[in-house]
């Protein structure tokens, strides 16, 4: 498959590709046959553009990144040609370089940022060593280079001296990721390949880094290849986007074209399946089926097995790249280098006419009709969303937390015997009631204590102060006293369950699915015999869509996909017949297209098993999906405090606390209407303050755009935030008569 580029000569950018990839193919010889993990991909990367590559896990997008640096891991074989055209000098045939030339080429011309920033640094050496050794390995002047490193680090909003003098583990995830970006730019490369650079971070940090990438790109004159699974995230950043499916591009075009006139069925389905804040929840649909195995890619169009438009032709003929640009529906012109239509945001997308819009689908013209994006699309309607009614919250709560505090101590350094240890206030005075059939979703950044709070709620973490009550009984008193006859700690233990974020490590790797699921039944339903247990497990597996269940019962966890593992973990929790399940980021380990399906399943099981959920998530769109479908509430946690809680209508559309507003800003949205959503970052500081020394007064005042002098002294208490029910926020701004309004602002000049 080739993607045709615009040949127009009067377009200066189109004629100046910095990297040309032609027919790049990566093959692995495997026992089951040859596996192609990159299939004949061609691409021209224009100088100074940001090119987004979107694909799900296992679509070959990381292979593309490795191929750019000729760094495909053995025993993979890379064919095709990759040409790098420096600004001055002759083009370089990357695949023809010798080992030594390649060593120079990498990082000096094309550098790379990996997803695993957590593990991209040598754990036993300080950050500055990483910079110094890179500079000396490439015979750069170290002093000059370190000066540049300091500049880069402060451009990324960090303190250079502190970062350089730290060991990798002393930096937070977001800081490590930014330091890795600085390290990748230390030799002043022209091209930066970023492979899921934000995937491990929470949304606010993702958004902050994405905005930084734009600044960095301008300042250092870069061309960026940005690889991600998250279409809405890259949509805000990239000039052009390519969508990968089954190891090849299926659609490529300028960002706004892809968003507004997606023409490949896969792109359209992917857009629809992504949870977001704007579309009505009914419009979010999972993609049926699963991505193909690299050894056995379907003939013809690789998507035909999952495609609603597929027919004979799709099975037999591999579709060419059809040009979509001359389509009458397109507003952004034709094959000619027409000007941008007036309603496009021309300033934010300088290279939008650098490439044509192509889709590898025989029926690209029919796709928009068959898979409508905006069928029930009603801009007015979005704001008028109405979530499910939810449970009655008048009866006695199921689990009730009263002023819960969890403080952890950290150790001092070597031979630091007597100094007072630092205390991390992971949870600091949160009260929350969870009712029968209730759903509460906790959102917040990493390190804000939301998981600790969740664990406290289900009795896995003992609070250092305050009480956790299950049906009116303090569960820790119960544990110590051994129960009063009416209720024992065992009952509580059974009633409160947890589903972990990473299903792979939550399941015993050496136990078959059936055996894992039998354990809770044996423990809690001893009256069932082996056959009863088995039939119960089989019916549940069938119910969650894992059929034939007899086959799945005998599998080991590693033989299941991530989604299937998470289902097994969920069933295992459900078999205990719990009253409340803590689901700690249950979908963030899954591909975007599977998230909606998993959340639907969880909601369905909730109704069936009559449980309550406490979700923990860093993603506001997932939170909104669940809370809206179940009539639950969203609680926003910041530095161990619950700063706002309410039904999704209020949290999403009428957020009162500035922190909620920041989270709202950070949630990327696919922008079908054209026009950027971005806007200025509403936070003044990218990093969360040190939790061992939280800011005085309102803890958010160091980052809050609305902070005034009073916020640094006084601590706001939760307050009724709006007329809506259950809506509370801990911010002075909710009180019209507070002295806040007369207090001087601290946001400008003082920072």
């Amino acid at each position: 498959m080739t993607t045709s580029q615009s040949t127009s000569l009067d377009d200066p950018t189109a004629a100046d590709p910095v990297v040309e990839i032609r027919n790049a193919t990566v093959r692995f010889g495997m026992e089951r046959g040859e596996s192609r993990v990159l299939d004949d991909v061609s691409l021209d990367l224009e100088r100074n553009e940001i090119f987004g590559v979107v694909g799900e896990s296992g679509s070959g997008k990381s292979m593309l990144a490795s191929a750019m640096l000729d760094a495909v891991v053995e025993p993979g074989i890379l064919d095709g040609s990759i040409t790098y055209r420096p600004e001055a000098g002759d083009p370089i045939d990357v695949l023809g370089l010798t080992t030594n030339e390649l060593r120079t080429f990498r990082w000096e011309e094309i550098a790379m940022v990996f997803q695993g920033a957590m593990s991209s640094f040598n754990p036993v050496r300080k950050i500055d060593t990483h910079f110094v050794e890179t500079l000396s390995a490439h015979d750069y002047d170290v002093d000059e280079g370190m000066e540049r490193a300091r500049g880069l680090i402060s451009d990324l909003y960090m303190d250079p001296e502190r970062v350089l003098d730290s060991y990798p583990h002393e930096l937070s995830g977001g800081m490590k990721q930014r330091t890795l970006i600085a390290l990748s730019l230390i030799l002043e490369p022209d091209v930066l390949v970023m492979d899921e650079p934000t995937a491990a971070l929470d949304l606010l940090m993702q958004r902050s880094i994405v905005s930084l990438i734009e600044e960095i790109k301008e300042e250092y004159d870069l061309t960026i290849l940005f690889i991600t699974h998250d279409l809405p995230l890259v949509a805000d950043l990239a000039d052009r986007i390519a969508v990968m499916y089954a190891f090849e591009f299926v659609e490529l075009g300028p960002t706004e074209e892809i968003l507004q006139h997606a023409s490949h069925p896969y792109t359209r389905l992917l857009l629809k399946s992504t949870p977001n804040l704007a579309s009505p929840i009914e419009a979010m649909r999972p993609i049926e089926g699963s991505a193909p195995d690299p050894v056995n890619v379907p003939s013809g169009c690789s998507f035909h097995l999952r495609c609603p438009l597929a027919d004979e032709q799709c099975v037999e003929v591999d579709p060419e790249a059809y040009s979509v640009s001359d389509s009458s529906v397109s507003v952004t012109g034709s094959d000619s280098d027409s000007d941008l239509s007036p309603d496009s945001d021309a300033t934010s997308i300088p290279n939008s006419d650098a490439g044509d819009h192509v889709a590898n689908c025989h029926y690209w013209e029919d796709a928009p009709e068959t898979i409508p994006m905006t069928e029930e699309w009603d801009v007015e309607g979005i704001d008028a969303i109405d979530s499910a009614p939810g449970p009655s919250r008048t009866a006695d709560p199921l689990v009730s937390m009263e002023d819960v505090e969890v403080h952890f101590e950290t150790e001092g350094s070597f031979l630091d015997f007597f100094s007072e240890p630092d205390t991390v206030q992971a949870v600091d005075g949160i009260s929350l009631d969870i009712y029968e059939n209730d759903v509460v979703v906790l959102v917040g950044e990493s390190g804000c204590g939301k998981t600790t709070f969740g664990k406290t709620a289900v009795g896995l973490q003992e609070p250092t102060d305050g009480a956790v009550k299950y049906r009116g009984q303090d569960i820790w008193d119960l544990k110590r006293s051994g129960g009063d006859g009416t209720m024992s700690f065992d009952t509580v233990r059974r009633a409160l369950q947890i589903v972990h974020q990473d299903p792979g490590s939550a399941l015993n790797a050496h136990r078959r699915v059936g055996t894992s699921l039998e354990v809770p039944l044996k423990r809690w339903n001893p009256e069932l015999d082996g056959n009863d247990r088995k039939s119960r497990i089989v019916s549940l597996l069938e119910h969650v869509g894992m059929s034939p269940a007899e086959d799945y019962i005998d599998r080991y966890p590693h033989q299941l996909s991530g989604g299937e593992q998470q289902r097994v973990a969920l069933i295992r929790a459900m078999l205990m017949n719990p009253d409340l399940i803590l689901a700690d980021e249950p979908v963030s380990a899954l591909d975007v297209s599977l998230r909606v399906e998993m959340m639907d399943l969880m909601i369905e099981l909730q109704e069936q098993f009559d449980t309550s959920y406490l979700f923990v998530s860093h993603d506001l769109s997932n939170a909104r999906y669940i809370a809206e479908k179940t009539g639950g509430r969203i609680g926003v946690v910041y530095l161990g405090e619950l700063v706002e809680i309410g039904r999704p209508e209020e949290i999403i559309h009428d957020p009162q606390h500035p922190y909620t507003q920041a989270l709202r800003w950070a949630t990327p949205e696919p922008d079908f209407e054209g026009g950027g959503m971005g806007g200025e970052s509403p936070i003044r500081e990218i990093d969360v303050p040190d939790p061992t020394d939280p800011p005085s007064g309102c803890r958010y005042h160091t980052r809050c755009p609305e902070a005034r002098e009073v916020c640094t002294r006084e601590h706001p208490e939760p307050n009724e935030a709006s007329a809506a029910a259950y809506h509370e926020a801990a911010c002075f701004r909710t009180d019209d008569h507070h002295e806040y309004w007369n207090s001087p602002s601290i946001t400008d000049g003082g920072d």
Partner: protein, 334 residues
């Protein structure tokens, strides 16, 4: 407990162990089958001493007085031990402390060489095995390592004795220093010492088998890590990568193993020195067992335990110097 650092707790733990050992040794003297005191009395009486004189001597040697109430005796014993007074050897008729102090350097000499060489060989072999993982060298060295790991050191010691000493006569079959050479800082004497220590050191090299397997596993893990991939892409030299990245990270977990093996080797030295008739701490203790020299036995017992406790304490306390991640701060501290 709340405000005490784990290091202080760890130190308290070590002190507790030492105290427990001293207490145990006190109890053993009184409870041991055959009654240690009775045995000594009988021996002195057989030598023709009057019972009163014998009793006096026993009290002196064991630094305890059976007539005192048990708690007073216990406190005295503990205090004496802590002051370094471990009593007087029955057999040698010398203070136990002096005997131990004379024998200890010889054992430490053999032990430190054994540990140094086995870990050096183990780490080097493990690194090679990891580098050529799955290759012939890996298979060969793995088999060697498994063999070494499964042979008890005293079997190897006897084999070495049979071949290298009795059959081929390359090395002496026993002793710790050359005869007829004046002890001192001269080349002949030092060479003689090394010559005599060779076979004991070689027998202890079985430890290198386990070490190399550990190193192999660690290295393979490091070789697959993300930071190694990034380091390669950054164009670092092979030397930097192999020393600063692979070796440094793979050796870290070996550090604790190394200090733990000191304890094992101390225990092993009793049999080892007996086999080679090497006059160190181990042989001294062995003879003490045979001669029912209780003060010496207890002294050696206390000394070895304290040495192991200190080694482990050092391992725990210094690990954060070797591995910055093991320091107090957790990853969220910023």
């Amino acid at each position: 407990m709340v405000t005490i650092g784990w290091r202080l707790r760890r130190l308290a733990q070590a002190l507790f162990t030492v105290w427990a050992v001293i207490t145990l040794s006190f109890a053993m003297i009184r409870l041991m089958p055959g009654n240690a005191m009775g045995a000594m009395m009988v021996r002195f009486e057989q030598q023709g001493m009057s019972p009163a004189r014998a009793r006096e001597l026993v009290e002196l040697r064991l630094s305890l007085d059976p007539d005192k109430p048990i708690h007073t005796a216990y406190v005295e014993y503990v205090l004496n031990t802590l002051q370094g007074d471990l009593g007087t050897s029955v057999f040698h008729n010398e203070p136990v402390v002096d005997l131990l102090a004379a024998a200890l350097p010889w054992t430490l000499f053999v032990l430190s060489w054994s540990i140094f060489i086995s870990f050096f060989i183990g780490i080097a072999a493990g690194a090679l095995m990891a580098y050529w993982e799955g290759g012939k060298l890996d298979v060969g060295l793995t088999s060697w390592a498994v063999l070494m790991g499964s042979i008890p050191f005293y079997v190897l010691a006897i084999l070495l004795l049979i071949f290298a000493s009795y059959r081929w006569g390359i090395f002496p079959s026993g002793g710790r220093q050359p005869t007829g050479v004046e002890a001192g800082f001269n080349i002949t004497y030092i060479r003689g010492i090394l010559y005599h220590a060779t076979l004991p050191v070689l027998s202890m090299l079985v430890a290198s088998g386990v070490a190399s397997l550990g190193m192999r596993g660690n290295s393979i893990r490091v070789l697959g890590s993300d930071y190694l991939r990034v380091a390669r892409l950054r164009g670092l030299s092979d030397y930097t990568i192999s020393t600063q990245y692979v070796a440094r990270n793979a050796v870290l977990p070996m550090y604790t193993t190394l200090l733990i093996s000191i304890g094992e080797m101390f225990g092993g030295s009793i049999v080892l020195e007996y086999v080679f008739n090497y006059r160190g701490l181990g042989l001294l203790l062995y003879e003490a067992f045979n001669q029912r020299d209780y003060p010496l036995m207890m002294g050696g017992f206390v000394l070895i335990t304290i040495a192991v406790v200190i080694a482990l304490l050092i391992a725990d306390m210094t690990y954060s110097w070797v591995d910055p991640r093991a320091g107090g701060q957790n990853s969220d501290s910023y």
